[in-house]
Symmetry: C2
Subunit: 226 residues, 2 copies
Amino acid sequence: MTDSATTASVSPGHAHRNGKMPDPEPATRYHHGALPDALLSAARLILERDGVAALSLRAITRAAGVSHTAAVPHFGDLAGLLAELAATGMDELRAALVAADGTSRLIAEAYVFYAMDHAHMFELMFRSDLIDRNRPRYREAASALFAILAEPSHSSATVAQEEDKVKDGIYDMPDAARYTAAWGLVHGLAVLATDGRLDPLRSRLKDPVSRKELVRQAILSVPPLL
Amino acid sequence: MTDSATTASVSPGHAHRNGKMPDPEPATRYHHGALPDALLSAARLILERDGVAALSLRAITRAAGVSHTAAVPHFGDLAGLLAELAATGMDELRAALVAADGTSRLIAEAYVFYAMDHAHMFELMFRSDLIDRNRPRYREAASALFAILAEPSHSSATVAQEEDKVKDGIYDMPDAARYTAAWGLVHGLAVLATDGRLDPLRSRLKDPVSRKELVRQAILSVPPLL
DNA sequence: CCGGTAACTTTCCATTGGAAAGTTATGCTT
DNA sequence: AAGCATAACTTTCCAATGGAAAGTTACCGG
């Protein structure tokens, strides 16, 4: 087969910069109008359905109904496109952490659970060999994510104390060490869990529990770090 | 270019099953005699020099001076070969942990430092999309590695107590949670550090330190888990 | 000595990302 | 309102990949 199965054809969407409608419904048109979004949607679809390995330039463009080089003007190359997609994942993870507002343990849980609930996206987000980490969009999303983890407002100290500490975004070692440990813990748990690395242990459990429960207990076994 | 640069030609090695020397030095011979080892050596060379992305079947076989399908009889496919290579990495990491015998913090440090000192190998070891995790050699190496982390002998309890606990390799939840957290922490730190994810934070440090120092402080900021 | 089989090589193919060059439409300028 | 620069695409081409298939070579047990 040449394509067929993977052809999900993401619709154009129409959003010309000016309000002018370009044409009612010309089955296929040369200038797509909203290709970047269409490509990202198509890529997301493929990612969620078939995993990162299926994210080929050709599969994505095929799903969007364009030629396999059509992404170049917008994203440069595949790594550029995937970086933009990964950036949306970063945003979502960040939103999940913000939503889990509360104790540092709930934030930690939110990090790992997001990864488990969006394993493919999470993998893409940290596959440095696949994405162009220098894309501004990605850089900012990534740093905004870390900012949540390094936000001292979760701690027990007063607001005034903490606002003082974070001045100019400069950290002192005790804080940096704790943020690093916290990120390391949740990221490691996320990676191990989504990769099935915890299952051998889980199957040797006296009374078995779900992946998430094991992760939760693991987080609880560590005193709050933030 | 077709090859040249990547041609590192790993020497045959000679180890015919019987003691009989097959031929003094016939520049090239059809039956290599020790292809599996030669391929693994070549792969290791390429991995350490150029990273996992360079680990193509063709590059490896080229470096070993054989045709690009010569690995099939021995390893099945590329994922099989890489799994064997990754297994040796698992063994080395395990050895490093054993050598770091002592407090659980030193073991944790050894885990992360091995990853940082052998970043490419460490990446391969956990790239489930590249390796055939079902290969017995890999499975055993991986489980042996975890066994070190889950070895209660690092704790403060008596030998008798612990030997009792680990009976039949069945864990109860409190232990499992601690082992999971410990592995998560060191693995996460290893992944983040080797991927350069800690550098943005590091550059915002009041008084900068090396990657390793940051990692060490991070580990120290967490109470011993094992 | 000979036949079976494992260890290789050669050839072939589908798939990939990207470069290069051609085509089409858009919108800015006058 | 016309036309022209240019951005958004398509087509074609290429080198590289992993693996299947079929052909060769050499070892090894009888």
